[in-house]
């Protein structure tokens, strides 16, 4: 049963989130089928043009069309955040569930690894990894995936520790269900109320990390665009060509806010549901 107030709140969050995310997803789809210009084509005659009919969001200091670059950047931003979170989720679930379910020695070893990663600032660790292995998009993806994994591991471990004492898990043990199946088929689906919002928030945080790293020049490499990279490139023209800052920032804000609203909607709709 879901109470009136919470289902209304959940719906509001979902709709707001969907509108924001819809804008970014639309950009992503357009980048695949109908980009008006080549996002990396430079033109010496069209440097720093303000928004107009020909260039919807103006052009940058190399004469590249900002609108096309934003469409292109949304592609990389979405890819990096989803791929990074997928890696983090995979590693987190794979290490967190056995740690919580078995407890004792396996738990101590697994959590030692996770905690060692957690005790460094995430962005520092990702920067070191990328600095060592060279800046490229794939290195960013796996480095961020590794940095984010302990968060998911902790969520899974805590959930498994709580659920393993419940009667339905005892019942499964009596039926001689194998531990792996108990973890992934009996426990994991019950962790969705915690894991889903964590995943969506993870996407948002991953995007912020990626933007930060691209801003520092260690993320997406030129000539490819990402929102953070575009902001970094226009540092010098903030006052003379503000459209270079405004449009990438807006897209970044839409994506992050959309994800936050979505995760809040998921959380509210789960908490409004009672199991008894």
């Amino acid at each position: 049963m879901q109470s009136k107030a919470s289902s209304f709140r959940a719906r509001t969050f979902f709709i707001t989130g969907a509108v924001f995310l819809g804008i970014v997803l639309l950009a992503f789809v357009m980048s695949l089928i109908c980009s008006p210009y080549d996002p990396n084509a430079t033109s010496a005659r069209e440097i720093l043009l303000p928004p107009s009919g020909a260039h919807l969001f103006g052009t940058d200091n190399f004469g590249r069309d900002v609108f096309s670059r934003i469409l292109d950047a949304s592609k990389y931003t979405i890819f990096i955040s989803i791929a990074g979170v997928a890696i983090a989720l995979f590693l987190g679930v794979l290490s967190g569930l056995p740690a919580g379910y078995f407890g004792g020695f396996p738990d101590r070893v697994i959590m030692l690894f996770n905690n060692s990663i957690m005790c460094f600032p995430g962005i520092l660790l990702a920067l070191v990894a990328v600095a060592v292995f060279g800046p490229s998009m794939f290195n960013v993806v796996w480095a961020l995936g590794l940095v984010f994994a302990p968060t998911f591991a902790r969520v899974c471990r805590a959930g498994a520790m709580e659920l393993k004492t419940r009667d339905f898990i005892m019942h499964a043990k009596v039926m001689r269900v194998k531990p792996v199946r108990i973890m992934y088929s009996h426990i994991l689906p019950n962790l969705m109320p915690q894991l889903l919002p964590a995943t969506v928030i993870g996407l948002a945080n991953m995007t912020l990390f990626e933007s930060g790293m691209s801003y520092l020049g260690l993320g997406v490499q030129p000539p490819d665009a990402s929102f953070g990279k575009m902001l970094a490139d226009c540092k010098a023209y903030v006052l003379t060509a503000p459209w270079l800052v405004i449009f990438p920032s807006l897209m970044l804000i839409f994506y992050i806010l959309g994800l936050y609203f979505l995760s809040e909607g998921i959380r509210v709709s789960y908490s409004g549901r009672s199991d008894s």
Binding site: K4, F168, M175
Partner: protein, 524 residues
Amino acid sequence: MPRHTHIVKVHHLSLAFPTRHDPNPEPVLKDIDFGIRDGEILGLIGNSGSGKTMTAMAIAGLLPEGAVITEGSIKFAGEDLTAMKPRRRRQMLGSNIGVIFQEPSTALDPLMKIGTNLDEILLTHGMKDKAERRKRVLEMLGTCGFADPEEIYSRYPHQLSGGQRQRVLIAGAALLEPRLLICDEPTSSLDTVTTIQILNLLKEICHKMHMTVLFISHDLSAVRNFCDRVMVMRGGEIVDRDTTQEMLLHPRSGYTAELLTNARLDTRMLGLERATVDYSASPVLVARDITARYDNSSSNVLKGASLEIYPREMLGLIGSSGCGKTTLVKTLLGLMPHGGSITCSDKQTGAVFQDPVSCLNPAHTIEWHLLEPLRAAGIKLTKEERRKRVASALQDVGMSPEYLSRKPRQLSGGQRQRIAIAMSLILEPSLIVADEPFSSLDSSSASEILKLLTDINRERGTSFLLITHNIHIVRQICPRVIVMDKGSVCEEGLTSEVLSDPKSDAARKLLHAESVLHGENYSE
């Protein structure tokens, strides 16, 4: 002038959960009209979902979100509670109206010592002097039957037993000397021996402090011992009300009579018939000198318990809380490391646990639950065979196939317990271990489950190990009984012999508690 002054007067109260889609839903409480007289103990009985708790929470002002009083009023000592400002209403709680909840394990803050838990009650109600507060709390703990209040004061909730925690809660409620005490199923999670202690304590404290009590229960024997007057609720309406003696001896409504019959779990009325046991056959399970301990403790919970269960037998296992019954079940089911030997003729043993809420996985459908034992046992079936097997398992426990696609939260407690039984049955084990399968159910569901278990025993010849604190059930359906005390079996034999002439202290204590709670005539 009326003969009795009413401390609470509920006047034509209706309550519903309106939503945007359905502004006029079926009310949860329908035109409830009753009064609680000053100083009396009023019992409120009925099956789960009959509106007992909702009625009490309306009086206490603790209604869940979305509940709206659509009609009527509640007067407390002449003041209308429904028209009162929320702030004033909150002040009433605790100082005028006290509440004791069902689950003593969750009602105390686990991070605070008992003393701090109780101290806070006085502090929030404006008692500034620390030494004074401590004195009052210790005094109250003493009144609530703790021999060493100082010791209890400095303990944490997890260091107390269920009965002790319930006594602490009573102490907490009584600290502010409320005029009305609402007890919402205070004894339903306790065993018989503890129930008696708690009821006696409540009675004593009410008498001493002139408290009025609204006592909600589905346990008729508790009501019989404790209440002056009883009201019966069904589907949000009060269907019957009378003095306790009149009600129990001459119920006026058919529904009350049915409740009473179910509560008595009378085998003749229910038509229970168990299988006949052949004691010369070789046992399905033999356990010898079982010892077991929990990881963090140094002493054994089980100290050499032995038992055997014969084919087609319903073996009863009784004992007070903490005697190791549940630990024994865990070792027999292979859930705990143990010493000693357990030999079972069948690889599969079925299990039914106490709590119908947590016995099913909330994330999966009923169909998934019924298929899981087959998958775990590695039985490969075609789609058609699977469907047949699942449907017949559901039918065996008296449910229709429409439930297959439902999630556990859409079922009632009794229905969930049926699914748990069906999950055990689907592999056709020769033994099912049932750990207190009735204790969280209301009497009607409990008698249905009991009937189901005996039917399975008779028709399929499945043996049962039935753990219960209801000696009455054991007497009715178990030919043989085992009494446990302090981790070992202290008495064992034919039920008729053990229960009529108990040799051990533990058995005598259990029987005494039962006779006090249920009355002498109840036992036969």
